[in-house]
Every structure is written in C-alpha cells, then in structure tokens.
C-alpha cells in the first residue's frame, strides 16, 4: 500500500515539477513558433477579423514588386552585413587569440579589457558609438584634425555606402571578444598534447601553427559562423535603434529584422501595409534561410549530450 502511494505521489510531483517550465515555454515561445505556420496564411492588420488568403502572402512576397524588391534588398544587405562581421571576427579574432596565446606580458589584463564591451547593452553601445562617429564627433575630429587622414569629416551613418559597414563595425566592436574567447579556448585546448610532438620534429612556429593549430580551429570557426549567422538574420537592434524601421538612409541599412518588424508594426506613421500574415511569412522565409545553420547547431548540441 505504501509503495503504490509513493508512486502516485511521485508521479503527481513529477507533473508539478514539469508544468511551470513547459507552460512558460509552451505558451510564450513554442506556440508562437508553430503559430507562424498558421498566421502566414491570413491577411490581418492586427485588429478586426482575419481573412484566410492561403499562400497569397508568399505569392505577394515573391511576385509583387513592392514586396519582392524589399525582400531582395533586405536579404542582400543582410548578407553583406553578415560577411563583413564574420570576416572581421574570424580574421581579427584568430589574430588576437594567437597573440594572447603566446607568452605575452599582461595577457590576462588584455583579455579582460577586450571582453569589456561584450556584456554591455546593445542599445547603449549603439547610442555611444553613434555619438562617436557623428560628423562633428570625436572620431572625425581625430581623423581630420589629429591624424590629418582626411580633409573633411566623414558622414559614417549618413552616407548610404558607408552606413551598413559602419553598423557592421559597431556589431564587431561589441561582439569581437566572443570570437576571441572561443578561438583562444580552442588554441589552449590543443596546446599541450599536440604542439609538443610537432615542435620535437623541429618545425618552425609558423609551420606548427599551420599544421597543428589551424586545423583544430575549424570547429570554433564553424560555431562562430553559425551563431553570428542566426543572430544577424533575426536581430536588427542596431538598425532599429539608429536608422529606424525603414533602415535609413533610403533603406541602405534595411535587413531582414527591420523588414520583418515593418511588415507587422509599420515603419513610419504613413505606412499602410501592416499585415501580421505577411510578417509571419517573412519570418518563415528567414527561418528557412537560417535553417541549415540552425540544424547544424541543434545536431551539435544533441551530439554533445
């Protein structure tokens, strides 16, 4: 009798332990993700009755020039944004990680210092760096009067050609240490076992790095690429904060995150094309773009267990 009683109680308690987490995640995360599949089939401005339109949102998105041009532009610019950031992170990240892995004096101080921007709020970083790069701001004063590198101030965020790379630079400044730390931990991991053997063979430093260290950095590189890719294709905080949902100047900084936001909540006061169904459709398309990266991440996580 006591045993049956225990089992029953244990089962009840198991359910009670599971319920809060499952409810919280289920209602506010999992359900909305599944909801994408339903919502993309309707035309609905957020209030009033929903209209079922089938796959019309997708035909509009790929067929109607109004949406197609925005999609192509946002996707293309998002790709450029991603490439600049990933190039900076992998090249500079590896470079600095290597320098920190040597017997460099004060390397712990450098490592902590480099890590400083990482935990800062994106909003604060965006506003801070925007102030720094204004035409009358400190960076331009330094470039024009201090170093005499240019004749007149550069409009970093006002110039359509420069705005997107500038935002990418902001992102890289903020997140660089993430790459440095991951690459550094990969280097440190192989340091002892492998390098000894290579050095015994009389290989030079560069040969050892090339033969022993670089190959083992591949997993770290892939991880950085995947995580940054998933992030920049859904997160448009910098653009929203500094350039607005229309991605000024002239949509030169428009990326998927802003396009998605605009389609659901409107860009400016004048926008009329607000459609939750279209936003869900764009969300799904973006999810499909990042899906290979996402699946890779999932497999890696599951394999680890």
């Amino acid at each position: 009798m006591a045993k049956g009683n225990y089992k029953q109680k244990a089962n009840l308690q198991r359910i009670a332990l599971l319920a809060p987490g499952v409810l919280l995640y289920g209602v506010f995360n999992f359900l909305p993700l599944l909801g994408l599949l339903v919502l993309c089939l309707v035309d609905w401005p957020g209030i009033g009755p929903m209209k079922f339109v089938g796959l019309d949102n997708f035909t509009q998105l790929f067929g109607n020039a109004f949406y197609r041009d925005q999609l192509v532009r946002a996707l293309g610019q998002n790709l450029i944004f991603f490439v600049i950031i990933i190039a900076a992170m992998l090249l500079l990240g590896t470079f600095f990680a290597l320098l920190l892995s040597f017997g460099t004096k004060g390397r712990n101080v450098y490592r902590s210092l480099f890590f400083l921007p990482y935990p800062l709020a994106g909003a604060a970083v965006a506003f801070l760096l925007e102030l720094i790069v204004r035409t009358r701001g400190p960076l331009n004063v330094l470039l024009v009067q201090g170093l005499h590198l240019v004749d007149k101030p550069i409009g970093f965020l006002g110039d359509p050609m420069l705005a997107l790379p500038t935002l990418a630079a902001f992102y890289s400044w903020h997140r660089m240490s993430f790459a440095i730390i991951l690459i550094l931990s990969a280097i440190v991991a192989v340091r002892i076992q492998l390098i000894e053997a290579a050095m015994l063979d009389g290989a030079s430093r560069w040969q050892t790095l090339k033969a022993v260290v670089f190959p083992v950095l591949m997993p770290a590189f892939i991880l950085i690429i995947v995580i940054v890719m998933v992030d920049v294709f859904n997160n448009a905080d910098y653009t929203l904060l500094l350039m607005g949902p229309e991605g000024s100047p002239g949509r030169a900084t428009d990326i998927m995150g802003t396009f998605l936001f605009r389609s659901a909540f409107g860009g400016s006061a004048t926008s009329v094309n607000v459609n939750f169904g279209m936003s869900a459709a764009i969300g799904l398309v973006t999810a499909i773009v990042i899906l290979p990266a996402a699946i890779f991440l999932a497999l890696r996580n599951l394999r680890r267990d």
Partner: protein, 280 residues
C-alpha cells in the same frame, strides 16, 4: 614545449604594440564618454573632445538622472530582470531535472521541442507572439514582458542545465529515493545544491540578457511608466540628443550595472560562453 609560445624581446614589443592598439580601440569610445560626460557645455565637446573639461561638471549625471525618468526605468529594468532570473532558473531547473532524471514516454520529444527554441529565434515569430500576448491581455504590462523574456531564455537554460545534470552521477538522488524521498524533496535538497554552478551561469546570462533586452519590450510596452532602461534610453535620446555631454552621462549611467556585473563575475561570463557554446 613552451618554445612555441615564448616570445623573443623584439617579438614581445611588436605583439605588445598590436594589442595596445586594439585595447585603445576598445577603450576609446568608453574613455571619450567618461571624459566628455564631465564637460560643462556642448561647445567643449565639439571643440576639444580629447581635452580635459575646463570645469569638472559632476552635476551632469544628476541632470541626466533627473531630467529623464531614470529611477523609473531602473526600477522597471530591475523588476524585469530579477523576475526573469527567478523564473528561468526555477522553471528550467525543474524541467531539466524531470527530463534527465525522471524520463517518461515523450520526454525526448519534449527536449526536442525545447531545442527548436534554441535554433529558431523567437523574434522571427514576433507576429504570432504578439497575438498570444494580446489575447491573454498582457500587452503593456511588466508581467507580459517578464513572461515573454523568460520564455525566450528557457531553451538555452534548459540546454545548459540538462547537459550539466547528465554529467553528474545520480548516486545521491538514488540514495535519497531509497530513503523514500519524493521528487520535490530530491529536487530541492539534492539536485539544486548539486547543479549550483550551472544555475549560477544560467542566472548570470539571464540577468544580463534581460537587462539588455531592447526588442521585446519595444513590441509589448507602450506607456513610459513601464519602460525598462533600454527603451528609456531612446526616450532620453529624443530629449537630449543635441546635448552630447548629457547623452554621454546618460549612456554611462545605463552601462554601470552591467559593468559591475561583469567585474564581479567575468570568469562565469567567459565560462558560460564557452560551456554553452551559445551566444548570451
């Protein structure tokens, strides 16, 4: 074996120079902000951004603090992020405990559902999420933002905690079970103390991310009295945009809590980063 990593004196100088240049790039914006936040007027920021202030105007911080509703923003941010920390550590640890130690039919599927949240960011589903929050009448409430933000952090937290729990042996729990302890007791007395390091990592990541979150409050909050500091900062910017010295002061006020959190726990930060292998 240390030969590879040992630097000759000349190499040491070159490496030091390169690292100093990058350190300068990292410190430059923050240093400029500190310097210029203490200047008495805009003219000095324009004319000589690298010079020391003629008068050290500590009042700028008070002016920024009271000029915007920083105390309201801070309070809201504190309520949101502390609630998120409590909710996420509690819910994620109980979930991970059941999934790992008391598996049942469908627990693998359940874990898979959580992993879907790891790989597909909730922002992509902002439209359906908005519908859910609206139909629960949680728009423009701190509770709504707390639930949404905690839910968005659940997948990573569950992932970190299940991975950690799988790596520790279940001997203590089995012993407790033999003594007739029920799951509640096992969870609270045995598992929580056991997974404390992982809980600390999760709590820290959750605190920083929820404190820094801009996008979710932007969608779900409307009245300024509910704004966390990230949204408050945009309000502040609307009003003080041309007064750069006050902008710098406001930005620094906003940065202080995360910088303190970082100084107190930089090691856990870096651990969390490499352990989870997941951003934030």
């Amino acid at each position: 074996m240390e030969r590879l990593f040992k630097l000759k004196p000349l190499e040491q100088i070159v490496v030091q120079f390169i690292l100093l240049v990058y350190a300068a790039i990292v410190v430059f914006p923050i240093g400029i902000a500190i310097l210029n936040s203490l200047k008495p007027n805009l003219g000095e920021v324009y004319k000589a951004p690298f010079a020391l202030p003629s008068v050290w105007s500590w009042d700028n911080y008070a002016e920024a603090w009271f000029g915007a509703n920083f105390q309201t923003y801070f309070l809201n941010s504190a309520i949101i992020s502390l609630s998120c920390v409590v909710l996420v550590t509690l819910c994620a640890s109980t979930t991970a405990f059941v999934i790992v130690r008391m598996p049942f039919k469908g627990s693998t599927f359940l874990f898979g559902c959580f992993m879907l949240g790891v790989v597909i960011p909730i922002r992509l589903a902002m439209a359906p999420l908005f519908v859910v929050v609206k139909s629960l009448r949680l728009l423009d409430s701190l509770l709504g933002v707390i639930l949404v933000q905690s839910a968005s952090m659940m997948p990573v937290a569950v992932f970190i905690l299940t991975a950690f729990l799988r790596a520790v042996p279940a001997e203590l729990e089995d012993a407790a079970k033999m003594d007739g302890a029920l799951p509640f007791e096992i969870y609270w007395r045995v598992v929580v103390p056991l997974i404390r390091p992982a809980l600390a990592t999760v709590a820290l990541l959750t605190f920083v991310q929820s404190w820094n979150e801009y996008f979710l409050p932007l969608i779900f909050l409307q009245s300024e009295s509910n704004f966390p500091i990230t949204l408050g900062m945009t309000q502040f910017r609307l009003r003080f945009d041309v007064q750069w010295h006050l902008m710098f002061a406001g930005i620094l006020i906003m940065l202080v809590p995360t910088i303190i959190a970082f100084l107190l726990a930089s090691r856990q930060f870096i651990q969390g980063l490499t352990q989870g292998g997941l951003k934030e």
